[in-house]
């Protein structure tokens, strides 16, 4: 496929808070995209390197984050194949913890990531960005580069507040390219046995039903097992509720993206 024909979609999994299921979402959704035959790249931007670990890849990028941003070397030279067909990874590197500083040296820091991604668009249908939890120059650059932000929200009061904050930012035009970045939240680690979870889910869906996806990921042993198995859930527990939930989530995201872009 030639450059002009490929309509690559950049999808970031993001939340200001950590430990909400960003990495699990990035890994599982990227896997599902790739298994549907789409050449897919996952860039692990989090210096904690959880996605990189889950794919058994060394968290090392020669030249570090700074080198990648300066485009001294093409990003594609650092890409590693995962064990799964069609799915490749741009690994995390410990230097990514200073990515903010590195970005700040550019005239238009927020646009930099987009530039680095540009040549990669030729090779992939989907590029996933697994982002570190924070509000920083890195997240701004991620917003700028993405067609969609996928925001896992644990349906508890505190966690849902961070989503509301993000919504506010988006409304004021401070997140993403104006009108071009979809913000899609989904409930993560949802426990329908808990009254509080049900209450919060209900409240959030009412605030903005357009952005909260119908499919959610339940709390599950299988998602926790990913760290042990070092594989997407669908590989080692394809029948599990988590695997089914990710599949439903992915098909909803894909549908949303298609309708937004068409």
């Amino acid at each position: 496929m030639t450059k002009s024909k490929r309509d690559t979609k950049v999808i970031a999994t993001y939340n200001i808070k950590g430990g909400v299921g960003k990495t699990s979402a990035a890994v599982n959704l990227a896997y599902l995209a790739s298994q549907a035959g789409h050449p897919t790249l996952l860039w692990d931007l989090d210096p904690q390197a959880a996605s990189t670990y889950l794919f058994r890849i060394r968290p090392k990028v020669k030249g570090g984050g700074r080198g990648l941003l300066r485009k001294r070397s093409q990003a594609s030279a650092h890409v590693k194949a995962t064990d799964h067909d069609n799915l490749e990874l741009l690994p995390a590197d410990f230097s990514y913890r200073h990515l903010d500083l590195a970005l700040d040296q550019f005239k238009k820091p927020a646009a930099r990531l987009r530039k680095v991604l540009a040549p990669l668009r030729e090779d992939y249908d989907y590029i996933f960005l697994d982002c570190p939890p924070s509000i920083s120059l890195v997240s701004e650059a991620v917003f700028e580069a993405s067609d969609a932000l996928i925001v896992p929200v644990i349906p508890s009061t505190l966690s849902s507040r961070s989503y509301e904050q993000l919504e506010d930012l988006a409304r004021s035009g401070k997140v993403g390219r104006k009108g071009k970045t979809s913000i899609l939240a989904f409930f993560s680690m949802a426990d329908t046995g808990k009254q509080l979870h049900i209450k919060v889910m209900h409240r959030l869906r009412k605030i903005d039903h357009l952005s909260v996806l119908g499919a959610g990921i339940p709390t599950s042993d299988e998602v926790e097992m990913m760290g042990e198995e070092r594989n997407p859930v669908a590989v080692f527990a394809p029948e599990s509720s988590a695997a089914v939930a990710y599949a439903a989530l992915w098909s909803e995201i894909e549908r949303r993206l298609q309708s937004t872009l068409s």
Binding site: F55, R56, R58, H78, V79, K80, D83, E88, R230
Partner: protein
């Protein structure tokens, strides 16, 4: 041209692979074939072992993206374990010393080349990968080159017959190899044409494929014929006799390989300098081609004998400058051959659907190829000057004096 690996001779390779890589990698047999994992249990490469009917086996190491270094390390480990037979089948060099009898050293080199032909032939016939035919042909070409350059050690009758027979054998494989290359390069060739003409070249590909099929059939018939079998048997007898013959009664009994090789290298180098100096901007393509053929002879002499017998400080850079020159001559020759092929295909194309448009597209493509050939001619002077410089000539005279 392809991802084909080296020929291997192990009977049960999985266990041997495992122990060769033990410590750093784990080798597993899976539904997808043989996979190699690193100490993080990450899949780093796949290994494929294929066997052609007739016995040739070969092994391919396919790295996953981003794991080229591991694959190289794995290759080296397999090589060190005597597993990959790169040293076995690719390399035609045999150990030799300067003061051994020329006839014996030459016989050993030629037996080695015969071994390489034998190893590749089953895979050539099985059409396993185009590279087998390439290696088979290189071994024949080297054999012919040694026959020509080292003629002094052969009986005149044997020499004449074997030269004719090996020429015949090589001729039987040429059409298939040429078409292998055309088909492989078809996309590249098409991309050289102007964008507007590319689609018009479509009718060319089925025509090439049809010719390729016919050429292969003819080649297979020739390679399995009694003539080829007879040639192989007789050649083996001649080489055995040459290696074992009593030196006493032979006129060349005392000639050493060091002296003979030095003389031939000097002579071929001198000849190349003479041929190249006669080439001008107006020279015919044939003159470039003849120089390239001589260059191959020199290269084989240097690789099969020179590198083992003489100062590597001289031989290595000489091979390098020669390679630079041969690359330029090679590009020129490739383009000339492509032009000739396209012109010749034109006759068959006319009657096909889309033929006239294809013919016009071929015209524009030929213009482009001629331009390339002219550029290569332009680069020739620089490469040749380096090869034939006075300093280089003095060095050759001294090292092979």
């Amino acid at each position: 041209m392809s991802g084909r690996g080296e020929l291997v001779t192990f009977e049960s390779p999985l266990g041997a692979l495992g122990s060769a890589l033990d410590g750093d990698y784990t080798v597993l047999s899976t539904d997808d074939g043989i996979v190699v994992r690193d100490e993080l249990e990450k899949l780093v490469c796949r290994i494929t072992i294929s066997t052609a009917p007739g016995g040739s086996s070969w092994l391919t190491v396919d790295p996953l993206k981003g794991y080229g270094r591991d694959a190289e390390r794995i290759r080296r480990r397999l090589l060190a374990a005597g597993f990959l037979s790169e040293a076995g089948w690719k390399n035609a060099q045999v150990p030799m010393v300067a003061d051994e009898r020329a006839a014996v050293a030459v016989a050993r080199v030629l037996l080695r080349l015969l071994q390489i032909m034998d190893a590749n032939l089953p895979a050539v016939l099985a059409d396993a990968d185009v590279e087998f035919l390439h290696d088979y042909r290189v071994a024949i070409r080297r054999t012919r080159s040694v026959l020509r350059e080292m003629h002094a050690v052969f009986d005149a009758e044997d020499l004449k017959r074997m030269r004719a027979e090996f020429k015949w054998l090589q001729d039987q494989t040429s059409a298939t190899r040429d078409l292998d290359v055309y088909l492989h390069e078809f996309d590249e060739l098409r991309s050289l044409a102007p964008a507007s003409a590319r689609a018009d070249l479509e009718p060319l590909e089925p025509l090439l494929r049809q010719r390729h099929r016919l050429a292969r059939m003819a080649m297979e018939a020739a390679l399995t014929s009694t003539r080829t079998q007879g040639l192989r048997a007789e050649w083996w007898e001649i080489l055995q006799a040459l290696a074992l013959a009593d030196p006493g009664g032979r006129p060349d009994g005392t000639r050493t390989i060091g002296k003979l090789a030095a003389k031939r290298i000097r002579k071929v180098h001198r000849k190349m300098v003479r041929m190249g100096s006669a080439i001008t901007a107006d020279s015919q393509p044939d003159q470039y081609h003849e120089l390239r053929k001589k260059g191959k002879e020199l290269r084989y002499l240097l690789e099969l004998f020179g590198a083992l017998l003489f100062d590597p400080e001289v031989v290595r850079p000489l091979i390098k400058t020669l390679k630079g020159l041969q690359d330029v001559l090679g590009l020129h020759q490739d383009r000339e051959v492509q032009i000739e092929m396209l012109r010749e295909l034109g006759h068959d194309l006319v009657s096909r659907s889309g033929g006239p448009r294809a013919l016009m597209a071929i015209g524009t493509l030929i213009d482009r190829l001629e331009h390339d050939a002219a550029q290569a001619r332009g680069r020739f002077a620089v490469s040749f000057e380096e090869f034939a410089s006075e300093a280089q000539c003095k060095l050759v005279a001294k090292a092979f004096g």
